[in-house]
Each structure stands twice: as C-alpha cells, then as structure tokens.
Amino acid sequence: MSRSASTATETEQRAADRETMSMVQAINSALHCTMAADPAVLVMGEDVGFFGGVFRCTEGLYEKYGAHRALDTPITEGGIVAAAIGMGVNGLRPVVEMQFADYIYPAIDQIISELARLRHRSGGEFFAPVTIRAPCGGGIRGGQTHSQSPEGIFTHVCGLKTVMPSNPYDAKGLLISAIEDDDPVMFFEPKRIYNGPFHGHDNNGGGSGSWNDHPLGQVPVGHYRIPLGKAATIRAGRQVTVLAYGTMVHVAAEAIRTSGIDAELLDLRSLLPLDIEAVAESVQKTGRCVVIHEATRTSGYGAELVAEVQETCFWHLRAPIERVTGWDTPYPHAFEWEYFPSQRRIVDALQRTLAYH
C-alpha cells in the first residue's frame, strides 16, 4: 500500500520523529497532543477516565491530566453529548467517546437537533466544537450491538462532518484536525483494525496483520493534521475505481492484490465533506466503480456515493456502479463472516463490473 501524491496537500509533520503505533495508540497520541497544547480540550465518556477506555484509547490521560480532563461520566449518551455541547459553548473542546457506535442513538437528538444546527440557527453567534469518537464496525464477534456502522445516518445531517480513518497515521492526523475544527465532527473508529490491519476473515483468504509491519503504522510523535475532506489514493489503477473507508480499505486492497485486477483504491477518510474531486477524477479515468462499506446496504453511505458518481461521471461509466455492503439484517453473532463484506464478494463485484465492455 502506498500513498499517492494526492496527500501532498496535507500539513504533515515531516520530522523524522516517528514511532510505530497501533490505531489505539495513534488516537491516544492525538489526544495527548491536543490536551497538552490546549487546556480547553478534555475527554469525556463512559470508562474513559480512570480506566482509560474499554479499548484503551484514553489511557494515561487521567494520570497526566487528572479526573477533570479525563472525565468519567454517567451512562447516558444523551446527557454526555448535551453536557459537551454546553461545554463547547463555554469555550471548551470536549472530545466525547461513545463506548460503541451502537450506543450513539440515545444521543442522536442532541447531535442532530442541537449540535449540528446550533451555529446555523443562532445566525453564527454560537457553536460547539465537539468531537464525538465512536468505535464502529464488526469483526470482533460483537453481535448486533457491538458491530454497527451508523456513519451513513450522520452524513444525512447537515452541519456535521463525518470521518472514518483506516490506519494509525490518518487516525492521528484526522483526529487532531477534528478536535481543532470549530465544527462538530463525528469520528468513527473501525475497531477491527484498532490493533492491526485486517484483510477479511481467514476462511475468505484474508487475515490480520500488525501495524508494526505497515507503513501507515509509522506515526509522527508530535502534532500534525490531515485535512478533513481529502481522500487518499491507496493504490493507483486503471481498470476500476474502488471507493472504501475504514476496515474495508484493507479488505479491498487485499482483494485487489490477490485478484490481480488493476483497480484504483481510494480511501475516502472523510465522508462529509466528501472529496468528490478525487473520486470523480478517478472514475472518469477508469470508467468503472465499486463502492464498499460494512453498513447495511439500503440508504447507506454507499448510495450517496453511487448517486454522486453517476451524476459527476455518467458519461464515463462503462458499467453499473456496484455496491458491496453489509446485508440489510442486523449483524449476526454466528454468521459474522458471512455478513462482513469479504474479499470474495469484492472480487466478484469487481469482475462483474469488468465483464461489461
């Protein structure tokens, strides 16, 4: 996997000071950096304080910054986001952790009706720079309530930015951008790749790796940003454009590699704003497009991608755009790998797409 020139616009820290980090460590590092730089940044959520988070993303913050800045909260997601909004209005930059993205729904009224609209409805007088982090996605035998990918819902809500990184390097740079952004950001973290890239279930020919061996597991120790709204080209190619984000970037990359198809793989990173220029440029070149996500299919973010692509690239398209997604069922405990979009399913879609001449 290599990064294309399209990331050259990023305000990366070029210092040699890099360390191998997992996604968890990179996220943790982003929190340490921003909290060190600005006393207005605090983390809050269930078990994020003393314990350091059930996925360890907030480890060490309590020891370093105390109980007030690594703030354990009652278990009421709506209350947590509401409090964060009030704090944001009063000059702080709260970084909220939702323990699982599946538990974001009790907070959705505060997110949709309040957080997303505050700046607009107040004529620009008030805003709340809240970042909401949420581990998402399947592949950890979490069943239907520890595996969901609800990102699509938030992309339908104007006033929110929605981001999902696929690797430690991006995770840190995007999270710092999110925290320092004055707009609210929904920051989804695919938990399956917290501790290593994942290429799909073994039976489907994939497997897990370690971030140690991955170039994007080399992460600057200091402060850097990756702008929200810019896709990364994971692999240049000429036959077909693959649009993915989160864990599926890795599954797609491996599917492309093993299939020998010369696909161009874009990691969207930011779903809203979407880097439609990068997307359109690629599809106009390849003439074919496959869209991939773990979330349920109907009205998922993939639908928006299809709509945008067919609108901007209609005359270049040489085959229908395919969606490879989770099924329209809850995520089943026993059938996790039959649910999870596999390399096989991706390759099939690529081949169907290429079959048209």
Binding site: L42, H68, T73, P74, T76, G78, G79, A82, A83, A84, I85, G86, M87, G88, V89, N90, G91, L92, P106, D109, Q110, S113, E114, L118, R119, H120, R121, S122, G123, G124, E125, F126, F127, C158, G159, K161, D181, D182, D183, G229, L272, P273, L274, I276, E277
Partner: protein
C-alpha cells in the same frame, strides 16, 4: 390510599372496544378542568406548610426537603409581604421589576395582535407568568448564562435587549440576528449571554449543565440558569440535566415553570402525582417550590439558588407554580381543552397586579402611575414595531440575501454547499 382507576373522566373509565371483553384497570390522569367543567385546583396543594423557613444556601439537601413539597411565598393572599423569604430589595429594583413585567405584557399583546394580522408566522405569549423570567433574570448577574425555553422573553427585557432587534427576529427581516432562519420567539443573543432557543423541548436543560461544568472547570464564578415547562420535564434531557448537575455539583439553576398546561395536556401527566420540585430530591439536589406569581418570592428563592451555586455548593431545582393564561401559542384555542376562563379561578392571582398592589400598599406607586406606565410602554412598543417594520417584513422583506441560508451550516462553506448555493443563485 391510592385507588385504581379513580379520578377518571366520566365515560372514559370503562374500556369498550368491539370485543367488549376488556375493562381497563389503567389509571389515566386528569387536569384542573375540561370545557364545561368547573375549574378545580385543589389537588395542587397551594399552601406554604413546611416552606415557611429559609435554610442557609449551603445547607444539606435533606435540610431543605420540605421546601420541595410546600410553597414558598412572600406576598400573601392579601398582598402583605413577610416571612423568612422576604428579600431585601431596593425600591428602585422593585419598581424596575414592575416596569419590566408591564413591558413584557405590552410586547406580548402587540406581537400577538401582529400575528393575528399576518405579520408574524407564529407567536407565544407569557401572560400570567411574567414574574418568572423577570424576577429570576433580575436575581442573576449579567455574566451568568441563560438557557431559556420559549416563554421566558422577560429575560431579554431584564438584560436590556433592544426591542426592535427582538421584533426584527420575529419577522425574519434583514436585521434579524438569526438571519431569517428561526421561527419567531426562538431568540438568540450572545452578547446578552442568552443562549439560542431551541424548538426541541428541554434540550437546553442539560446543555446548561454542561456550560456550568465548563465554568467550574475553568475556575470561573459564572453560573448558568435554565428553564423548562412542566410538560417538558418529561423529556430525557431534564433527567440528564439533574443527574449531571448532581454528579459534578455544577453551578446551575434548573427552573421548572409549572404553568399547569402543556398545550392541551394537564401537568398531571408529567408530575406523577407529586411536585416537580420533589423530582430533585432523588438526585440529591434541593428542590424549592415557589409561588411563581409572587415577584418577591421568586426573586428570593432565585437569590438563594444563586448563592448556593456561586459558592460552589451545586445546583438547585426551582419549581415556579404559575398559570398559562393565554393559549399555548397562536396555533391553538384553549377553550377547546379547558374551561373557558379557567384562569379566573387560578388561586395565585396575576403577578403584575400583585406586585403593583404591594407597591401601592407601600406607597411607592399609585394607580395613575400604573396607567401612565402601561400607556407609555404600549406606546413604546408601537414605536419599536414601526421601526422594526422599517427593516423589512416577513412577507415582503427585505430579508437577508437568500444565499445566506448556506452560511453557518459550517464555519467554512464546503464545496457541496458552494455548489448548491450556486445552483440556487442560477435559479433566481
């Protein structure tokens, strides 16, 4: 002893249905009156028993407990002021309070009429409950942050908001600081530390607690105050607010304006058979129930809560017992769901009249002065209205440029909104 299924409206008790097989044992609450009935407020327990003491603002919650079920009053039914809650307020302060209340009423009357004439799309009056916002606003410092519901316009008058600006907001004209985006009455005023009012009930309640937490986090002395209606207390945000306020001892005042009605639904559907102030006790927060039409009592109780919060002893819940004299908004006719003139039977009187009479009794004021004041403020509101209209009307404008609807969705406009704005402009 509670009785199952007691207290039912005639005919509603038995549960017919085609089968006829079921007889419901469910209890469904009722209210003070329905059309044609004689209003009955006796279930409200409007007596001061247990509330005739004033603990110190740093007291333990249990020491204030009776205040949650009693009723703090200063002005009695005869208009005599007294008791432990009698606040020390200067004559000027009291006269200013009267003036604000009269001004709110004049403003409400005018805006309501303008809505009826089609100049506003919507309006909400605070008639009968002006003492709540005015006395509470006056008990707070200007650096304290207000998170109101939609019926505390009195706060804006206390804080000195330009009335023309308020009106310009209500008619979404070119001078509306909300840039034409909000329905009338959903004011925003950052410079006055007045938060953006939401159309979604109760969301501000828990946000106010977060604001107060941030104040404490920064080591500042500012407190937050927030308001919610009796019906709105049912929303989860009110629970979240109380829980967070208690957990972190946030410097916040949580006000519940119990004006007896939530559109057509009696407060009994939200109260669960007890007082709203009592809800606080289960969160280890003092709850104080106060005569919301008694300017002096409202001021005194708010002072107490301000001191408690400012000194670091945490939140207070105040239930303000009052009455919504007008319809819910310009969209409803209350005669459809409560006895005509139910307000005449309201036992706690009118807040303006009560303060006025008290001031007259103390010879600080007179009926002619009152009439002059009312005339003066009515006149002022008329002038302001004309001026507001000079900046544009709802139907004919001028408004903000249409394209500004794309501003402020984000701090910086992303490409997809730039494209949409361009499409709109091409259409024009």
């Amino acid at each position: 002893m509670p009785k199952t299924g007691g207290n039912q409206p005639a005919g509603a008790h038995s549960h017919p249905g085609a089968s006829g097989a079921w007889v419901s044992k469910l209890h469904v609450p009722t209210g003070s009156s329905r059309p044609g009935e004689v209003p009955d407020f006796s279930a409200l327990h409007l007596v001061s028993d247990g509330a005739l003491f004033r603990p110190e603002p740093d007291c333990e919650v249990r020491d204030a407990e009776p205040l949650a079920r009693g009723l703090v009053r200063v002005l009695d039914d005869e208009g005599v002021a007294g008791g432990p809650w009698l606040p020390e307020l200067s004559d000027e302060h009291l006269l200013q309070g009267l003036r604000h209340m009269v001004q709110v009423r004049a403003y409400d009357e005018r805006m309501f009429r303008m809505q009826r004439q089609g100049q506003l799309s919507f309006y909400i009056k605070s008639t009968g409950e002006e003492a709540v916002a005015v006395a509470q606003g006056m008990a707070l410092d200007s650096g304290d942050m207000l998170f109101p519901a939609y019926r505390q316009q009195g706060l804006l008058f206390v804080r000195g908001r330009d009335v023309v600006d308020m009106m310009c907001h209500c008619i979404s004209n070119a001078r509306d600081n909300c840039k034409g985006r909000q329905m009338p009455v959903f004011y925003t005023w950052k410079d006055g530390n007045f938060f953006s009012i939401s159309g979604n009930l109760a969301t501000q309640f828990s946000q106010a607690v977060g604001w107060a937490m941030a104040s404490a986090y920064k080591g500042e002395d500012h407190i937050a105050a927030t308001w919610v209606g009796d019906g709105s207390t049912a929303e989860a945000d009110v629970h979240n607010a109380m829980l967070f306020a208690a957990t972190y001892r946030a410097p916040v005042i949580l006000n519940i304006v119990n004006n007896q009605w939530a559109i057509s639904t009696p407060q009994s559907f939200a109260a669960g058979g007890t007082t709203f102030a009592a809800r606080a006790l289960g969160y280890n927060i003092p709850g104080i129930r106060v005569d919301g039409n008694d300017f002096l009592a409202v001021h005194a109780v708010t002072d107490w809560a301000v001191q408690r919060a400012r000194q670091g002893f945490g939140p207070t819940v105040i239930e303000l017992v009052t009455y919504r004299v007008a319809g819910h908004s310009t969209s409803d006719n209350p005669d459809a769901y409560r006895a005509h003139n139910e307000s005449d039977a309201w036992p706690l009187g009118d807040p303006v009249t009560r303060l006025k009479d008290y001031l007259i009794g103390r010879e600080l004021w007179s009926e002619p002065q009152q009439q002059a004041l009312e005339a003066e403020l009515k006149e002022a509101v008329s002038r302001d209205w004309k001026q507001a209209l000079s900046h544009g009307s709802l139907e004919d404008g001028p408004h903000w440029p249409v394209a500004t609807m794309f501003d402020d969705v984000f701090q910086h406009m992303p490409a997809h909104l730039l494209r949409q704005r361009q499409q709109l402009e091409e259409e024009e």
